[in-house]
Symmetry: C2
Subunit: 186 residues, 2 copies
Amino acid sequence: MNISVIKADNGVNVEALLGARAALTEAPEAAHFKWRATCDWIRGTHSRTTVQGFYGLGAEQSRNKTFRYDVDHPELFAAEDNGATPVEYVLVALASCLTAGIASVAQNRNIQLRSVKAAVEAGMDMQGILGIDSEVRNGFDGIKVTFVIDADATHDELAALVAQSQRRSAVFDIITNPTNVAVEVA
Amino acid sequence: MNISVIKADNGVNVEALLGARAALTEAPEAAHFKWRATCDWIRGTHSRTTVQGFYGLGAEQSRNKTFRYDVDHPELFAAEDNGATPVEYVLVALASCLTAGIASVAQNRNIQLRSVKAAVEAGMDMQGILGIDSEVRNGFDGIKVTFVIDADATHDELAALVAQSQRRSAVFDIITNPTNVAVEVA
């Protein structure tokens, strides 16, 4: 008798990722990546950042397309609102990183996802960036992410899924831990 | 005799920003903002995040447009490359935040900018997110930002401009200092 096993399909190629993990375990120097972006000031607080190539697996990697992102401040700040603000882009990064992780972990755990929605909210006291109160930080005073997931899994399984995604998330790490940033003028 | 003073015009309404600073100094509770984003999983590592409203000046603020950002992993990771990766979005945020700050500070210092370009590069050891080595962090091991600025200013003035932008940058703070992130499943 043939027992057919229903396999979840979340569109993540887990076999390829596990293969990459095995390959990079053997050749850890290939795991050193460099991510890049180039930003051009347009006018006022409006800029356009281009994302194309990166370095990884020991070689320059070029995409067959170029991504461009307009960033600006909203009209409330007497700007032209040509794109989301820089801090909103941080929220895009966080939400998408956790969501991609959830899809990948669910695939690996054979959990079929039907829908995943994340609502992100970050508090910020503008007294920081406006230089009103030097005790107030410039960045967020905290971020809350709430996931609503429709999947073939119990609430405990979903909570474990989200926890594992958090544990492996690059952007969650970048936001919750300090990273050194060197800024120079050529 | 009339002495005409040449005023820099970088397209930043500094008067409005100084007015906002004065107003929020009087009413600091209005300075408490909430930035938001909503992320929908599409398939695989592909998601789309929507940015529209935010809360500030004591009220809900709605834009007359909606920004949508596709995020994905590149083909190198067996994904479909429908948008920049989450970590590249962090670089977009950092570059644009520092650039908007440079334009604003230059305006305030009466320095005319002609062009501002930022090249951002961030190292990342993929052994972290792939779970190969638990000693390796998931995020960046460091970020380097290089500005090339064409302006009516000396190199020292430009260096001071960039330093002041860094000092007031929300995203620079978010990346270089820890922020608490609470993640939950509804």
